[in-house]
Amino acid sequence: MTSAAFVGYGTIVRKETVRIVRIWTQTILPSVISQTLYFAIFGGIVGARIGHMGGSSYTAFLVPGLVMMSAITNAFSNVASSFFGAKFQRSIEEILVSPMKPWAVLAGYVSGGLVRGVAVAAAVFLVSVAFVRPHVTHMGALIFFIFVTCLIFSLLGFLNGLLARKFDDVGLIPTFVLTPLTYLGGVFYDLNVLPPFWRAVSHANPIVYMIDGFRFGFTGTAVTSVLGSAGILVVVAGVLIVLTLALLRRGFGLKQ
């Protein structure tokens, strides 16, 4: 990395981080409040009647899923809204007329998504401590799966921002793709409780592997192959990086 590219990259990361902190009531707080309600209602009230799931109390079972759900939605929406906002206001032209290399631009915005995804995940995890004593079995798995998941959804958010033509396009993916896949990705239930057909269908959902791998970090047990999941996620992240960079280099959605 040349020093000029590093300065450009650092400028975008700093700008994104300042924005996340400045409007924390829009970027951090909503997820913390909604996940606190999930812990209180599903963990505390409903969970007491459910008993155990996946070998642990229902509240403890919920923790990895809810942390991951927050990380996914925040990493995605941070990059999608910030990048599309810059496109919409045309302030992205500040970067396009500069000598910044496309990879430095992508890395800057994606790092912003990582910062928000991990920050919100950490905040939600801290909230969970008020409801259940966390037990970490594999710290390496926790760090790997949260990082690679935020990376993938930051890249998807960037792609969404790049392809979007109007603000509605930025809201469509979270509503019609992310939320259903996340809710059906094993946040609230163990895949083993599903009938064989739906269990097989669930394995086509990429978020299942992210949540399962992250949950493995807490419980030490997984429904899927953790190493296999990790490998697939790394490949997915690699493909997304190549695809997004190719579009960015062509100026897709940015240049006339």
Binding site: T11, E94, M100
Partner: protein
């Protein structure tokens, strides 16, 4: 002396079929201030967009101080500063941050950009507004902010796309004094404007575009004299 800008047979056809530039060629000498004139839709903004990387040309070549814009885009962009026609900064950001961040995109660290920003904002009368967010500025202040942002990386070639549009007479005068001073210190300037009397006063040479083609190019005084026109505006209307 190397030309600051050499444009050869540059063409642009947009996806909808509009031919904005139909083979434009001209040169700009290093250190000069050139007026690029033409009616709305003549292709001035498209040409500026091509030079600074916002528009992809469909033909021809362009060199900035002898460096090809396609072969070495990062190098040529670092030599260009652009003041666009429309306000294109984040209106929710503070004036000082907009300028310092712009320097960052050019690889200039904050420790260097901060004092440079202070100097430029003071020169442009915006220092008192450094902590104000962009949307609270008046039209004239926004215009000056665009100039400050374009200058923070100390470009050798400055592209001014109608910088005085919507600016009152007094502010315009101050802005032009600043631009003349920049030019006197060696910055090559290409100016597009609809204020022809200002173009005549500020620039020695002119290039006139009409429907994507260069229809006149040369020394303003000579063109006016040879055509028997009263002034540049009169000459322009005859073209």
């Amino acid at each position: 002396m190397t030309n600051a800008l050499t444009i050869t047979d540059v063409r642009k056809t947009y996806k909808n079929g509009t031919e904005a530039l139909k083979g434009v060629s001209f040169g700009v000498r290093g250190g000069e201030m050139l007026a690029l004139l033409g009616a709305n839709g003549a292709g001035k903004t498209t040409l500026i967009g091509i030079l600074c990387g916002l528009v992809t040309k469909t033909g021809g070549s362009a060199e900035v101080f002898g460096v090809d814009i396609d072969a070495h885009p990062e190098q040529t962009r670092s030599m260009i500063g652009v003041v666009p026609q429309e306000f294109n900064f984040n209106i929710f950001e503070r004036v000082g941050d907009i300028v310092i961040d712009a320097a960052g995109y050019y690889g200039i660290p904050r420790s260097v950009a901060a004092p440079r920003t202070e100097t430029i904002l003071k020169r442009l009368g915006l220092w008192d507004k450094r902590d104000a967010v962009g949307r609270t500025l008046s039209g004239g202040m926004k215009r000056r902010l665009l100039i400050a942002r374009a200058l923070v990386h100390e470009p050798k070639l400055l592209l001014l796309d109608e910088p005085s549009a919507g600016v009152d007479v007094e502010l315009r005068r101050g802005m032009w004094e600043f631009v003349v001073d920049l030019n006197a210190h060696g910055t090559t300037i290409i100016l597009t404007t609809h204020y022809l009397e200002e173009a005549e006063r500020l620039c020695k040479r002119v290039v006139i575009l009409k429907r994507g083609v260069v229809v006149q190019e040369g020394e303003i005084a000579e063109l006016v004299r040879a055509s028997g026109a009263k002034n540049l505006e009169d000459f322009y209307l005859r073209v």
